[in-house]
């Protein structure tokens, strides 16, 4: 059954700072960067910061992993005269595209007129995400995980990737192809952190950090801020750009995934998955669409195997067939034709978290907006539908289908 909010709201503005290598954004403050992203998103939409009256966060309104956004502080900093919606999805980056659904809910409830969704990330030495699990004193729950020395997200993800290799014969070559295929999309992107082409030899020489995962299977550690503005379709018509229509959006997940790699209790086949099956089924049911209808897929890529596992959960290929799907080149974007390769759907035409920048999912939303506007640097020809995913992580995870107006 079609989602009752289908095509009723749209993303109308996007804004971002430069992307900095971890820690290099200092001496800017995190609110300085957040402000730049919000003001740029307003300019992109053709509205005033004074028009912003709602904020739909994710990650518990986290700014990175140790800082927090505060709506009152943002109002004082940026001068929004009043706010009539301020809410967040829970957990972490898995909720990123789901925050657009939260914004839609607030807009449809007439709580607010122009909603901001944002993330700012500044990984100063004491805030470095890669070691954040190990740096915390273990809680009673994490006392069942942390003593094993699974201290970083990459360690945790490698255990899931290993199980997938065991069950389905998945190879490290496929993880390498995820990195290489998306790296090929950054050479022409001025803001991308990694722009040089990547060869298989270079990938194979990358240091093993958590076997089976190499350094290049881990996403970038970057600083920066990204904001997007969502509003209703009637208001979107008065904005500067063609609206990126919110066609479907869902967050959540099922108990078998739960806290995922913060727990490791998932039964097969959920263990060696991205935890997105429930959410994937929901957005396809909401929209009546399926993976083959997507013109471009912006897949959350904190770790390369998780791209492969999401492609399975969203049905771009069957469960267990991700290895062959990836190795047949189907993630690649062909600039000559503006389309995919070998019948595939281009994945992460912006380079993703692995190659462009990691702002906890927001860059994927921006690329989805630019693709359906028709203004992307690596434009997919006639892109009508863009899939955006967030996570895999502890629930909720989420996804979004944007449609060209």
């Amino acid at each position: 059954m079609a989602w009752s909010n289908q095509d009723k709201c749209a993303i109308v503005g996007v804004g971002a700072t430069d992307y900095y290598v971890r820690g290099k954004s200092w001496p800017r403050t995190i609110n300085d960067m957040a402000g730049e992203a919000i003001l740029k998103a307003c300019a992109d939409a053709g509205i005033s910061i004074k028009d912003i009256d709602g904020i739909a966060y994710y990650s518990g309104a986290g700014a990175g992993y140790l800082d927090k956004f505060d709506t009152a502080s943002l109002m004082e900093t940026l001068g929004m005269p009043h706010i009539s919606f301020s809410a967040s999805l829970t957990s972490g980056g898995g909720g990123c595209p789901g925050a657009i659904g939260l914004a839609t809910a607030g807009l449809m409830n007439e709580d607010a007129k122009y909603m901001v969704t944002l993330m700012a990330l500044q990984q100063l030495p004491q805030h470095r995400l890669g070691v954040v699990f190990g740096a915390n004193a273990p809680s009673p729950e994490s006392s069942f995980l942390q003593p094993s020395g699974l201290v970083g997200p990459g360690h945790l993800m490698s255990v899931l990737a290993r199980r997938h290799m065991h069950l389905y014969g998945t190879t490290q070559d496929a993880f390498g192809e995820v990195v290489m295929a998306t790296r090929a999309n950054t050479h022409n992107r001025p803001k991308a952190v990694r722009k040089e082409p990547l060869t298989k030899e270079q990938y194979d020489a990358s240091v093993m950090l958590a076997d089976p995962l190499r350094r290049l299977d881990f996403c970038l550690e970057t600083d920066g801020a990204v904001a997007v503005i969502t509003t209703t379709m009637d208001r979107a018509k008065d904005c500067r750009h063609k609206p990126a229509v919110v066609h479907a959006c869902a967050h959540g997940g099922q108990r078998e995934w739960g806290r995922a790699f913060a727990w490791m209790g998932m039964p097969d086949p959920h263990f060696a998955s991205s935890g997105h099956k429930f959410t994937a089924d929901r957005i396809w049911a909401q929209s009546g669409l399926s993976a083959k209808d997507m013109d471009v897929a912006l897949i959350y890529d904190h770790f390369s195997p998780m791209v492969l596992l999401q492609l399975e959960d969203y049905g771009f290929c069957e469960k267990g067939e991700g290895n062959d799907y990836v190795l047949s080149g189907k993630l690649r974007y062909d600039p000559a034709t503006g389309r995919g390769v070998n019948g595939g759907t281009p994945v992460n035409t912006h380079g993703g978290n692995l190659n462009e920048a990691y702002i906890i999912g927001m860059t994927h939303i921006v690329e989805g907006v630019e693709q359906v506007r028709g203004t992307a640097i690596n434009q997919v020809r006639d892109a009508e539908f863009a899939l955006v995913s967030g996570g895999p992580a502890s629930l909720p995870v989420s996804s979004l289908i944007l449609r060209s107006a």
Binding site: S139, P140, H155, V159, T171, L209, D211, W263, M264, P267
Partner: protein, 150 residues
Amino acid sequence: MADVIQYGPARLLPGEQIAITTNPDTEPFWQAAKEHRLTACQCAKCRHFRMPPTAYCPECSSRDKNWPVLPGTATVFSYAICNKNPKTGGDFIYVPVVVDLDGAPGARLNANVTGCDAEDVRIGMKVTVEWTAIQDGWVLPNFRAASPGA
């Protein structure tokens, strides 16, 4: 596919750098471990196992718990091979394993495995509990390969 890396012996992370905390739901597990008894949280009503221990049985909502003594054997469900001590950053080969506990269907532990080379750890490998003293007088269950290289 790249060659298999020769890591050498899988070591246990030093107990003196490991701390835990407990709450009333989890403490019986750790009290048993102090006495070198491996247990898991079992619902006293429907017999469903759950780990980590929590207040309610997710199957039947009962708050009543059993703490049966398990055989102390387990099967490797998945693993990673790590090469740096997470506290010091120094070179250190250790293998975090996720194990299925014998006698407690559905209950898993995350631990280190030793008694074999890291590159010889396999999914499906049988392991036996090995107790590691950690900070504050607590004891951590780790595991040893039941037959080296198996």
